[in-house]
């Protein structure tokens, strides 16, 4: 649920910023992710805490990590996995 929600939020954000001249097509699974995000609302902590991963983390005492994971755009870096490593690719100023 947590990752599907994030995917839906991401697809929604991409579509909102898309060039109107570009015709975007969503697969059924992409539409499903968008609907999951829409149904769960704007608060990140709802899907993160309801998900199995979130419940496991809370049980193990990592609830603060859920709060951190739900902070939108707190690390505004584009990072890329390339040649076996993840590194910064670009960032906002």
């Amino acid at each position: 649920m947590d990752d599907a929600y994030c995917a839906g939020r991401l697809v929604t954000a991409v579509l909102e910023q898309a060039d109107p001249g570009i015709h975007d097509v969503l697969s059924d699974s992409a539409r499903a992710a968008v609907e999951i995000a829409r149904g769960l609302g704007q608060r990140w902590d709802t899907p993160l805490r309801l998900s199995m991963a979130g419940q496991d983390l809370q049980r193990l005492g990592f609830g603060a990590d859920i709060d951190d994971a739900g902070r939108e755009d707190v690390f505004p870096s584009l990072i890329r996995f390339h040649d076996g490593q993840v590194a910064r690719h670009a960032e906002t100023t």
Binding site: R9, I22, A30, D56, L60, R71, F75, Q85, H89, E91
Partner: protein
């Protein structure tokens, strides 16, 4: 441009990824942790598939330059410097270091999509920038808008 979302790393084979830009999401916690580490000055992150592989990679780099981090089933791995907590990736711990990271799902998901044209880890913490710039970044090798129905961008959840 078309978009697909794969809900499992097992949903696609390597041959399916050629020419595609893939965004890997493991918001709890691997991709969030990667963003935190790099934001706080880590030189790079090397994802690994197992604790043994992580230790071997760390040895080749040298302990002074490496932070060994990860979890198995959310629990920190014995002998590693850090777990998989975003707040553990402080500037004091990771600045100018290479983080060798091993997680239950996220690092494996990344490693499984290496054949894609471009791969970006994503989470809430970098969502807006990723949506705005990632797949269209001129140096990303990302896919320009293509014919309708030609799958060219995926969001993969790890």
């Amino acid at each position: 441009m078309s978009f697909d979302v794969l809900f499992s790393p097992r949903a696609v084979g390597p041959d399916d990824l050629a020419g595609r830009t893939v965004i890997v999401i493991d918001i709890l916690r691997a991709t969030t942790t990667m963003c935190a580490a790099l934001h706080h000055g880590a030189h790079a992150i090397i994802p690994t598939a197992s604790p043994d592989e992580a230790r071997a990679v760390a040895r080749t780099i040298g302990t002074d330059a490496v932070v060994l981090a990860g979890e198995r089933n959310a629990v920190p791995i014995p002998g590693f410097d850090l777990g998989n907590s975003p707040r553990g990736m402080t500037p004091e711990r990771v600045r100018d270091k290479t983080v060798v990271l091993c997680t239950t799902n996220g690092t494996k998901a990344l490693l499984s999509v290496q054949s894609a044209t471009a791969v970006y880890p994503g989470a809430a913490c970098n969502l807006s920038l990723l949506a705005a710039a990632g797949p269209r970044h001129p140096r990303s090798g990302g896919i320009a808008p293509g014919p309708v129905r030609r799958p060219c961008r995926e969001v993969r959840v790890g």
